[in-house]
């Protein structure tokens, strides 16, 4: 039996069960920041780990992260990594002037 369908408009409705009639025109996604809905960090091989004692909160690591995975609080302090999205590239560890980030094997 044919199932009811309507074209998807919300990113949260895009699932692996939608039909070709339901998929958006040109696979467009009509809202921003939809990666928050998806865990993209699960294939990470290495993992950055904070050594909080050494961190001076200079915030150099934050703009270098290509994946916006270093959250900064309203009062301007970096928080722990967003491991749902961090890819483990190691750029933050490389740029930290105080060796406050260590790269560890995942798992």
């Amino acid at each position: 039996m044919a199932r009811e369908f309507k074209q998807i408009t919300k990113a949260s409705e895009i699932t692996e069960n939608i039909s070709w009639q339901e998929i958006t025109t040109g696979t467009e996604i009509y809202e921003p920041a939809t990666s928050l809905l998806v865990q993209t960090g699960d294939w990470r091989v290495n993992k950055p780990v904070m050594v909080w004692d050494k961190c001076k909160q200079c915030l150099l690591c934050y703009p270098y992260c290509p994946d916006s995975s270093i959250p900064v609080s309203k009062d301007g302090k970096r928080l722990d990594f967003d491991y749902d999205h961090c890819k483990g590239c190691g750029i933050c560890a490389e740029v930290c002037p105080f060796d406050a980030i260590e790269m560890k094997k995942e798992g």
Binding site: I14, I18, S19, W20, Q21, E22, T25, G26, T27
Partner: protein, 397 residues
């Protein structure tokens, strides 16, 4: 009020563009389409249009620039030929899968090698599976008319469209042409008002996202549907255009097909030469007809079969070799369309006109004679043939 003028096919495209006054043109020159951006740059210099004219360093970038501008919400056009089109290849698929209504003038030219600047259809035929609508013209008038119709077709369907004409033959050949008023053209194409566009700060959204295996096939099926649905839109726009101009357009033109026993299918300027052969043979009392295909993508499978249902033998003319060992691209699609007919005609293929090789009225005359032989003997022999090539197996002068 319609006004008479004389123009080359390239100028006709540039003039149509000027009347449309698109938001963006991606411009990179390549023979024989170079004159299109050249004329257009004059219109810009003279202040006749306010198009953003983006001069880029390659055709790849020309297509990339109009993909960007079209996604941003701008009515976008470009022009190219031959290797230039080939260089756009990967981006043609991007434009189509993102469903961007880009209008591109393609001035058909052979692909290298050997290096050659003259006309055949290998460039656009090579791009036939990229998801673009393709419309072809026989005359300068058709080039002009097709370009104007292309804008509403592509924008209503959200599909990119190639408006093709034969390099040098129509692109540089000057002939009489009937032009519309600027206002008529502007009314006909209307304002471009996309539902979604990247410059809309009210609706931040993503275009061209990654499509993993779980989504890719649904995306492609939906894209295939848009090509199917464009059939009706192409006819709607043709009907609106007829109301405005009195000029009749469809998926193809039927010439003396009513009682035809044998027929020919051809694309582009050579149709005029073919019609001359039809007239001559009709003068001798022979029942011959011709179909000039205008729309190759989407392929008008059913209408073509219907138009051919009473014919006994058909020659399909390909101005492109596909090295398939089973004929050219038009042949394979036309023949496949006729397969569902209860009384299938014989369908043979002629590769002709490669790299600017002339095809003459006599050549077409000969093809019709061949079709009558097939009709009489019930034997098509080899269906994959060439015409106009020097062949040591036959005497030639």
């Amino acid at each position: 009020m319609a006004k008479q003028d004389r123009m080359s096919g390239n100028e006709a495209v540039a003039y149509a563009m000027k009347q449309i006054n698109p938001d963006v043109m991606g411009a990179f020159p390549i023979t024989p389409s170079t004159e299109i951006p050249q004329y257009y740059s004059e219109y810009i210099a003279d202040g006749e249009v306010d198009t953003e004219f983006i001069t880029v360093e390659s055709e790849h970038s020309a297509m990339a620039s109009v993909i960007g501008s079209s996604a941003a919400g701008a009515r976008s056009v470009t022009a190219t030929s031959s290797c230039g089109l080939a260089y756009m290849w990967e981006l043609l698929y991007v434009a189509a899968s993102m469903r961007l209504p880009i209008t591109m003038a393609v001035v058909n030219r052979a692909l290298t090698g050997p290096i050659n600047i003259n006309n055949d259809h290998s460039d656009s035929m090579g791009a036939r599976d990229s998801g673009w609508i393709q419309i072809y013209a026989e005359t300068n008038q058709e080039v002009y008319d097709n370009f104007i119709q292309a804008i509403p077709i592509s924008e209503r369907m959200r599909l990119p469209i190639m408006v093709c004409q034969d390099g040098f033959i129509t692109s540089h050949g000057v002939s009489n042409i009937e032009l519309l008023d600027d206002e008529e053209v502007r009314d006909f194409v209307g304002e471009y008002e996309p539902e979604h566009f990247l410059l809309n700060s009210e609706e931040p959204y993503a275009v061209g996202p990654y499509g993993i295996s779980a989504y890719y096939m649904e995306a492609k099926r939906a894209q295939a549907q848009s090509m199917k649905d464009s059939m009706a839109v192409i006819m709607d726009v043709a009907n609106e255009f007829k109301e405005l101009t009195g000029r009749d357009y469809g998926f193809f033109e039927e010439y003396m097909m009513g009682d035809a026993e044998v027929a020919l299918v051809v694309i582009g300027s050579s149709a005029g030469t073919g019609k001359e052969a039809v007239d001559r043979l009709r003068g001798e009392g022979k029942k011959v007809g011709l179909i000039k295909l205008r729309v190759f993508r989407p392929f008008p499978r059913k209408p073509l079969a219907y138009a051919m249902c009473k014919v006994k033998a058909v020659a399909v003319m390909d101005k492109a070799e596909s090295f398939s060992n089973s004929g050219g691209p038009l042949f394979n699609e036309a023949r496949s369309s006729l397969y569902d007919l209860p009384n299938k005609p014989f369908v043979i293929n002629y590769i002709y006109g490669l790299g600017g090789r002339d095809i003459t009225v006599e050549d077409f005359y000969e093809i019709y004679q061949d079709l009558f032989v097939i009709y009489r003997t019930d034997d098509p022999e080899d269906v994959y043939r060439y015409i106009g090539v020097r062949d040591s197996r036959y005497r030639y002068e």
